[in-house]
Point group: C2
Chain length 632, copies 2
């Protein structure tokens, strides 16, 4: 049975038209006036372009069928041969879509391949970096043309007009007359960034970095296969200036030389990771053509050497939220000097390029349904996606989730209590590394409070029962309560009689967790209200980042860190920011989407919400536990 092609139906609304693209054979609906190129890209149809629609590269040519071929524009005439113009070819960037038209485009140098990439799943592989092998005829006395002119002629058909860097010309000069034996041209955007002897089209690498305040992770990616070939991470070299972005910004306020110091510190970390990746994979530095970076806004400012200090005080304005492109030599990266560096855009001061990476890798704003994404940290970044609408905010949670400012708190390192289970007469703990417990980390803290709430030892108001109250309600736990003037504490492990040989959770610690979760929950509530939604409208809640991977979703629900949704709706998504950096490295389509994303996000500044105090107060309380309720 012959497969029938779906009919293109005229759309009744006069503001949109419908057309079709070949060879995909896909129908596309676009607003009247949208260019053919924009319509294709909005639907992930890989019509090629080098100049991004300026009409100068000539690569976006399409054959117009089943509609009147529009009059050629000057750009059409400049870039297309007379025979092509007569045959119905036009530049897709030059003309609006026409109702019922069919546009056939060649699959060429930048054709999108879909590959499986570890951690990223199936992704489109259409990197910004292209390599083209050319074999120009040698110059002669009758045609003593410049090497670059010879190479450019060979490139023109495939890639349009390109501008070489000084470094690329110098490399071309070093190859000299051997260019007629064939050279490979490396293109980033509309610039030729290197020229290599022979056919090296099979060799191309890039780096994707996630610049965390605490940890920096870099991945060396093979741009020809989409696979990770090496990964390395290191503590952010700025750590000596403090553990969080606030202390880093305080450091920069000491003077411009401190901005420079923190700039150099992160660059040193990035350089070290780069060198380790290159050595691990045995890759030549000059075969690395691009690096992408995501990070929170303070980190990307410092990466670029921009003073971030104003982000720390009202009105919290950054210097830039736009993507920034520069050359690797400007950051002194140990790769090809002309390599391209792309720093992801941010939404706002406290919703940075890392969250744009999260939005990109979770396909937010493009998936159906209603999704909440929370990246829990010192600042909790919260994104709400409802259909194609995006809302974001940042909630200052403080360092409780990282185990800081908690009596016996510590980072999630060996010796930290990471799991707590409490019954009416026992407390069990899991310790990272399995040895003696030394303290409690963020996930252990959440667990402990959730369990205390569940058994009724902590009330929804956040108050820890006194010894007397515990004796009545939960006699099996009563000897674990150590009273003091500030609310008492609850001993998790060790001898309750010996404060030195036990680890306890203090009433103040519970209060701090309550403030932290209250802040994030308040952000969630404000976003839901902004979107006109209820928690019950949420189809899924995604937990991004390291903390999201460690936390027990049921317990996060139990303490009310997350709005009330079924437990199975909650999913940890790991390092989604880093995935975003990789996607932007491997796919120009993804990069364009990342660039567009911030413009589609409605950012809510929590401190500017009129009833913020009320909202925060409402979000502070713990949910009433079913079991505790039955104990009341």
């Amino acid at each position: 049975m012959a497969r029938s092609t779906p009919e293109v139906r005229p759309i009744s609304s006069p503001s949109t038209v419908s057309c079709r693209f070949l060879p995909e054979d896909r129908a596309v609906e676009a607003e009247v006036g949208t260019t053919i190129l924009d319509a294709a890209h909005a639907n992930d149809i890989p019509v090629e372009t080098v100049c991004a629609g300026k009409g100068t590269c000539g690569t976006c040519r399409v054959l117009v069928r089943d509609a009147e071929v529009p009059e050629p524009t000057p750009h059409d005439k400049r870039r297309l041969a007379i025979a092509q113009l007569a045959g119905g070819w036009r530049l897709a960037c030059q003309h609006p879509v026409d109702a019922g038209a069919v546009y056939s485009h060649p699959l060429g140098i930048r054709a999108v391949r879909v590959v499986e990439s570890a951690g990223l799943g199936r992704i489109s592989l259409d990197p910004n970096i292209q390599k083209i092998y050319v074999k120009p005829s040698p110059p002669s006395l009758h045609d003593p043309r410049a090497d670059w002119s010879l190479v450019q002629d060979e490139l023109a058909a495939a890639a349009g007009d390109l501008d070489p860097t000084r470094d690329a010309l110098s490399r071309l000069g070093a190859i000299g007359e051997e260019i007629s034996q064939g050279v490979t041209v490396v293109i980033a955007g509309n610039r030729v960034i290197s020229v290599e002897r022979g056919d090296t089209t099979g060799v191309a690498y890039g780096l994707a970095f996630d610049i965390g305040t605490t940890t920096v992770v870099g991945a060396l990616m093979d741009l020809t296969t989409g696979q990770e070939v090496a990964v390395a991470s290191d503590i952010n070299g700025q750590h000596i200036y403090g553990g969080d972005v606030i202390s880093r910004m305080s450091a920069t306020m000491r003077g411009p030389e401190f901005v420079e110091r923190l700039h150099r510190a992160i660059l040193d970390t990035v350089r070290g990771i780069t060198t380790r990746c290159l050595e691990a994979a045995d890759v030549r530095p000059d075969r690395v053509y691009e690096a992408t970076f995501v990070g929170n806004t303070v980190m990307t400012h410092l990466l670029l050497g921009i003073d971030p200090s104003r982000i720390s005080y009202s009105p919290f304005a950054p210097t830039t939220v736009d993507p920034v492109s520069l050359r690797a030599s400007e950051l002194d990266l140990p790769v090809l000097p002309s390599a391209w560096v792309w720093v992801a855009p941010a939404v706002a001061s406290y919703v940075g390029g890392d969250i744009v990476g999260v939005m990109l890798s979770t396909n937010l704003g493009r998936r159906r349904g209603t999704t909440l994404v929370i990246d829990v940290g010192t600042n909790g970044e919260i994104v709400l996606a409802h259909q194609r609408r995006l809302f974001a905010t940042a909630a200052p949670a403080g360092p409780a989730f990282e185990g800081a400012e908690i009596t016996r708190g510590m980072r999630a390192a060996p010796g930290a209590i990471e799991r707590v289970r409490i019954t009416s007469n026992s407390v069990g703990v899991d310790v990272i590394g399995g040895g003696e417990p030394e303290g409690i980390c963020g996930s252990g803290l959440v667990d402990a409070v959730a369990e205390l709430l569940r058994v009724g030892a902590v009330l929804p108001s956040g108050r820890l029962l006194s010894g007397d109250e515990m004796e009545k309600a939960l006699p099996g736990l009563a000897d674990r309560v150590r009273p003091d003037d500030t609310g008492g504490e609850f001993v998790l492990t060790g001898d309750p009689a010996s404060p030195e040989e036990s680890i306890a959770l203090h009433a103040q610690d519970i209060r701090r967790l309550q403030l932290a979760k209250g802040s994030i929950r308040c952000g969630t509530n404000v976003l839901l209200r902004e979107a006109g939604l209820q928690p019950s409208d949420l189809d899924r809640v995604l937990l991004a980042g390291a903390f999201g991977a460690y936390i027990d979703p049921a317990q996060a629900l139990a303490i009310g860190l997350l709005p009330p949704v079924p437990e199975e709706a909650v999913e940890a998504i790991g390092n989604a920011a880093g995935h975003g950096a990789r996607m932007c490295l491997l796919s120009l389509t993804s990069r364009v989407r990342a660039t567009d994303l911030p413009g589609h996000v409605h950012y809510v500044e929590l401190s500017a919400v009129p009833d913020f105090q009320d909202q925060f107060g409402d979000a502070m309380g713990f949910p009433a536990s079913d079991q505790a309720a039955s104990n009341d």
Copy 2:
């Protein structure tokens, strides 16, 4: 009496149309299909553009009158407001000229001013560098926008979408919240290269360099007035590797590290000149936003760190002849790191950017009549302009014109004989500096031979009369002839009896001059033949460069270095190459023209001319002197 506006007459040829531009009120004829923008620029009508016609900046808007307003293109729609579209405004880069139409354009940020500039006469002042003062409203908690977004909004109307450099963002960050007190944005091309506190629009500098093989000259120019504020020159630091381009190329053949050494040597010279200019004029380094360079192809290759060695052997192919843009930091110039550097394009290996500068500053290819330009040096560069057609070649003259390889030859320095006058019984010489003569420089050599020819002591074949022949024809000079086995010599000054205490011109010296002038004359003859012209068709002969300024035009004609034209048609034009560099710095229109020029030049490779030997032989002879003829 009211001045009547000239009527726009329809042109009979169907391949051109005529239109008019306001406010200049100038009629313009253009080929059918030419964009309005190109038609304007071809006629020096300053319709503004930032993106150079890509349709992306929106600055080239014109109001279309007296003709049908064309349908808006997608670029029109993106860049113009609905009211503008409805009012008849369109982007000049998007539409072909229409017969009879009148295009009215706003005079805005890049409006061309005509100024008097020392040495350059009246020139148009429309530098690539623009400064725009903006005063954005401060961010607020309800609109906590990034500084760059605020600045960009202010710029958008005037300058379209612009991309900031890392350095510009870093400077913006350092200004911080004071941006609301006003900042000045510095724009080069479509990039923002700096941001300065307050209104600094009145302060803008650039550097124009002429990189000679022997001497490097740099001028610091005020981009707001077009005036030179400082000039400095220095010996090219590569001189330790030899005096001419051939020896420089030989040096680079010793290995890549020698390319690097010669690259560093010229950069050191350029840096030294830059610092001296800045100090002399008391200008801050970060107020220098651009530098332009002209030089022969070997010098521009070495400036950019490109191995030039292949230029020295057949087929004499360079690595590039295109203009090259880069950042000042790539050359480590002591100016604003993001400052723009523009290196002029070349025509061919031996017709470099310096000659493009000469063509530009002499308005070649645009002036009426037929002009020959000769830049005499080790390589004589020759350009023939006939109406709008351009022909160029390079003639290997050898170093005779620089006084080298001549028995008593020396550079044009104190002690050099620079003028010679000979009568039937006397020889008079002028010595540079007025002291005792130590040798003879190029212009003295030309003079001496021209005078010997005139009196008949040298025959048109180039042979010096023997003592016996001289005794017969010119007895008053006979005792100056010192015979030897290789043609003898003629004593110019000093005691003829004492070879040590006299300066003589040897028959071999005359032969060397004959070869040198023969080579250049051969080049001229080949170009004239290529253009189908005779020497009598030449309206003027321009002598460029230092030698052209010293040589006596009558004597240059007398020895046949120049084709036979009236003496008054010959004019020395001084450092026209350096003038070209200044024009490219001060005027984007000039730079665009310089970029276009090489494509309009028909380059003739002399060694590929089939009858080169015959042509060279014919050009070797000296013209018969009127006076000598009467003596025969």
